[in-house]
Subunit: 428 residues, 2 copies
Amino acid sequence: MTDASVDYRSMWTELGMDLEGHDLLLAAIPKLYADAYLSQHDRPEGMAYFDFVMSEIHGLRIKELHDHRAAGGTVIGTFCVYVPEEIIRALGGVSVGLCAGAEWAYDQVEQVLPRNTCALIKSAMGFKMGRVCPYVESADLVIGETTCDGKKKAYELFGELAPLYVMELPQMKRPQDLELWRGELDRLVAKLEEVSGRSLTFEALQTATKEVNDKRRALQRLNAARAASPAPISGKDALLAVQVAFYDDTPRFTKMVDRIAEELEARVAAGRGVAPPDAPRVLVTGSPMSVPNWKVHDLVEKAGGVVVSEELCTGSRYYEKLVAEDATRVEGLLDGIAEKYLAINCACFTPNPGRIEDVLRLANEYKADGILSYALQFCAPYQIETTSVERAARDAGLPVLRVDTDYSMEDVGQLGTRVEAFLEMLRA
Amino acid sequence: MTDASVDYRSMWTELGMDLEGHDLLLAAIPKLYADAYLSQHDRPEGMAYFDFVMSEIHGLRIKELHDHRAAGGTVIGTFCVYVPEEIIRALGGVSVGLCAGAEWAYDQVEQVLPRNTCALIKSAMGFKMGRVCPYVESADLVIGETTCDGKKKAYELFGELAPLYVMELPQMKRPQDLELWRGELDRLVAKLEEVSGRSLTFEALQTATKEVNDKRRALQRLNAARAASPAPISGKDALLAVQVAFYDDTPRFTKMVDRIAEELEARVAAGRGVAPPDAPRVLVTGSPMSVPNWKVHDLVEKAGGVVVSEELCTGSRYYEKLVAEDATRVEGLLDGIAEKYLAINCACFTPNPGRIEDVLRLANEYKADGILSYALQFCAPYQIETTSVERAARDAGLPVLRVDTDYSMEDVGQLGTRVEAFLEMLRA
């Protein structure tokens, strides 16, 4: 996916990567991307930026991280929307989401993790064990969290392979949970101060908070345009924007997304869309989707539907909530960060009525004709919560298609048939 | 398993049970019990008590619970060793472990829970949906906990079928986690005061603490005898004792177990055992085993081995730790309860080095020749932690047999072959 120039190869070697395996990986992605993305008609021009980003995903961006570290900064790897980017950034760190969206080195992974572990976790472990993710190899620290049994326990093994720090996310959202979580932020600050050799200042945290909020505001703006009919951008492209938000340079990303949003607003004003006005509109909700996991969106949109919103960690859960910017002390900003992050509605919480409300609200705002409830196999939190999502959606008169899948392509034929039948039903 | 006398049937009807389904269930268990238990040779005489208990598991014991409620007491259902019996007891409650050890009504369960949910959870939900567990039907309140994703999310659905209260067990064991957990005890007290209409007093909590400690001391004593060679009691019988500890009358149970322990001590002094001195000695560790889940113990012991210890929730995790009895105020007793329960080493914690230490220590104390690492399929915490258990055991020179299974009998043939091969290796 990048020109395998000598420069990058020496960089990858320096990072301790498995060049041979990595070559195989890099050879596979461009075709995948072309099939899913470049085959689309009438894409917003601004998406050219993401085409470029994707072509340089293991190249130029890694070089930037390398230069950032050479200039005294740190690179902090994360796997989850609950790890506060604001704090990482305020301490001179670049936050990067780690590779976890494709099958890799499963033979090695299954030596240490059960086969019936979700694809996201197996993938993350495989990219590390196979040494083909330049992000984790660039990371000064990886920050884990206790969001699910699989990750919580897999981190214990991951921590043998990479420098790891685990935050405890509570499982409820009561005042005492917020207190525990607020304490976790203090401990994270201490850990990142140690790793970075810097001290957290009010100015730095305020600036970082504003910058990360701006990134989320840009994504909000881009996504707001999708409420229009016809949809001005494909779900696949909108999903990619959020996926890239996890590892791109923050101010640059904000600028590029704002540019796309502007373009989308012009399209909406002109009534121009990427799908016909009568294309069935689908809300996707469930487990996270990491690059290059575009499977479900691809199936829906190639079958003539259009995904209009994602109630996902790589979707609304990432960008909908903002951190309060008006605090006047570090502690106040951290309070705001604690509140914002704990307010995200992941299925790891019990109970989690906020997510059901989000799904219904988004379906309404984005005029969805139906809901695709997506779960990774063996992702117990989302798989079990699907029962509640289905009930609420049906009570609201919204048809639901339940998809439990992984990263393999074996079920694409069968899934495609189910998606087509679902879209037919939505059309009727 | 009980004489289906008219008296019990009217009691079951009053509880709202499905008599037809329940008849089928009751018809199945005596054969299962006879095959596993009554077929054993030279059992301790004291086990006759447990034969009686098992024959009256849905009869006389339920009648006792009925009478207890009629006299103003409460019945509190639990699924987990982290729910403090002392507090329930001090507020006039009888704590009962709920049915979760056999497949029941899976067709109904799989309408609301994913197929790939662990057998313990599917079973608990099935017994409730099928209305064949008189314990849950007798319960004034069921207390859940956030020990794993499966239970945490399944409780949300279970709570639609039964009065439910969920305690948040933290995921680490640091001072701040103990603080959160200590707060959970205060909230549990408030909830149980509300349900029982009583107020917690120091005297009642002190008495209950001593009584529950006595129960655990009796189990400690029974289990200590198993360190002898030849083993004076089968693993199956010792397992049953802990399983029954979850729902039997506490003082009566203590007395009967003490009586068995005394008998075992005499056997040890006389060098009398239930297995030959050269029978391979196996430590079983992993997921909990609820009545009538005796599958693994049965396979090991029918193949000529003997299980000498269980590092299980239905084993050492239940009885090894005691609550401090020397506090002089309610708060002090609650502090001791919080500390004791949080010290239990379940795989739901991260990290969980204490469990590895427990496994190695027990293997040493009980002179185990090998370890059977047992996990329910889809029980991510224990399945993933098995990697660490295996490593530590192998470093200590202890062979490990890994068994991932469920409650079906489909894999018994294949498992039996693996168990036999493992015992052969231990003999060599």
